[in-house]
Subunit: 287 residues, 2 copies
DNA sequence: TCCCAAAGGTCCATAATGTGGATCAAGATT
DNA sequence: AATCTTGATCCACATTATGGACCTTTGGGA
């Protein structure tokens, strides 16, 4: 191993814990379908024995489980328990569940709740609509770089400009590799349009004919807590209906924001050391 | 370090990951109030630098957060996200939320959902009642040895006899230390009574005048998935009312069991290596 | 205001721990 | 039957975690 991070302030170490938790997060991105060892080795940037050893440790604690038949790895019951206990402080989905149900009931289309996680957005929940044609581009657990997708763009647009730039820079490699049509310049444009219109529109950028509208949900201090979004085929997303949908979504977003204000003040400012080297973006050379 | 576990089947190791995740679980037991470094050092059985180093790693990944003012440690947002994603497979609380609301509304008393975690039961949710006198003996995150408390006893009673014995044995030290009135013999008696009556009764065993009734929720295969319970002061728990409450709870338990049956079959059998040395029960000698 | 106790936090020499190339095993595919 | 792919593991090597001793901050008490 070549470089040793400068150790901002003593007591670093526990690197295998960092690796293990990055792996855990990586598994979570695969959602319901789980992931194979090979996928994790490839995308996590760790070699096979190390990956496996960390997976075993995560399984010992119940954070992960492995299907005996398919050999796939899934989030485990301990992860569920911890999350449920943490939801006393971060219960965005609980708070938003009614709104998602309402939106999907009224519009017949599928609605989503997304949040920011590092430089990506993650779909926390997908509420099915009843309309017969539905897009399946977005599922719970799926991740997109911030700015890619309606909810994702709504969140990005709610961030301060300097953070947007930092995020776009960090995401540049991923964007080039996976979304060649969606460069930083395009996203900057989209942010401007979103801010002007007051809502985010994804006109089939990820999957043709799969359009979506996104609206940010704000913390009392103005920072985005997440985003609501509704997806449908393009014919159901013409300008007139866009306005209707946005109006419905605004009502729900206000409700959620009101409830959020009651959730947060459990504690003051929070401290969180930065993780210099998260997995996920394959790191060349290192290990 | 003296003994080295026999290594059931190659590729053990990643012990710091085990320790870190045990710490994480330990923090979760403190619920909303969070925990201090000293508490974690004492109860986790690790020394201060090690504890702190692991806490830093857990914070780097977002699983924990530290309040800058009080220096207390809490579950973090990443824990919430993972749990939310895992709830696609383990959504007992989501499934039970309506029932808890209903129970507390109809009875005016506080109701709880608990589940098994190792040899303890953990309270996943507390649904406040409206009645003016309420017990605060049980909060979300709190843990009791299985058999101690109404919900906890209901779960224990639903387990096969040999598991009950193993659990009672494992919990013996904790019982002696913290619940001197509740030895294995007493709990065995309580299990028999519970099985006969069809519900668990805690007649103020933990806190005087704080009574509770518990009812197990079963998986389709018969194993307990958790338990509902309702707590009130003794005057509201006389035999006549016990019967009323149990009837209400049975209705809700059936509903939850029906929904559970739809949740599980996402996958077949699951593999989970055992963790030979979880923290929490202070281990002498070993660091 | 000063002092002291208690708790949070960190240093660094020691030694235990994790690492990963090579290898085996078991299904799938041709 | 031979080959390929993926899961899983072995074990010599050296990077990494460990924890006693120490420093720092906070909050009483006199």
């Amino acid at each position: 191993m070549e470089q040793r991070v400068a150790s901002t302030s003593g007591l670093s170490g526990a690197q295998s814990v960092d690796r293990a938790l990055s792996l855990l997060s990586l598994v979570s991105y695969f959602g319901d379908q789980g992931s194979t060892l090979s996928e994790l080795v490839e995308q996590g940037g760790l070699n096979k024995p190390t990956t496996r050893r960390l997976l075993l440790a995560l399984m010992r604690s119940g954070m992960l489980e492995q299907d005996e038949m398919t050999r796939r790895y899934f989030l485990g019951e301990e992860a569920y328990i911890l999350g449920t206990l943490a939801s006393r402080r971060y219960g965005l989905l609980q708070i938003s569940r009614d709104s998602l149900t309402t939106l999907s009931a009224k519009t017949e289309d599928t609605s989503f709740l997304s949040i920011q996680r590092e430089t990506s957005s993650v779909c926390l929940h997908r509420e099915e609509g009843t309309y017969q044609i539905r897009t399946h581009a977005l599922q719970a657990g799926y991740r997109h770089p911030l700015g890619v997708g309606a909810g994702s763009l709504a969140i990005l647009s709610a961030l301060p400009d300097e953070e947007i730039e930092a995020i776009l820079e960090a995401n540049d490699p991923v964007l080039q590799a996976e979304y060649p049509n969606l460069g930083p310049a395009q996203i900057r444009d989209d942010v401007a349009t979103t801010r002007e219109a007051g809502f985010a529109l994804n006109p089939g950028r990820i999957l043709a004919n799969s359009w979506a509208i996104g609206l940010a949900i704000h913390h009392p201090d103005g920072r985005p807590a997440g985003a609501l979004s509704i997806a449908a085929i393009d014919s159901r997303m013409q300008p007139a209906r866009q306005i209707e949908l946005v109006a419905l979504m605004q009502v729900e977003a206000r409700k959620i924001e009101a409830r959020l204000a009651h959730l947060q003040p459990l504690n003051g400012r929070i401290k969180r050391p930065v993780n210099p080297a998260r997995l996920g973006t394959k790191v060349e050379g290192a290990n």
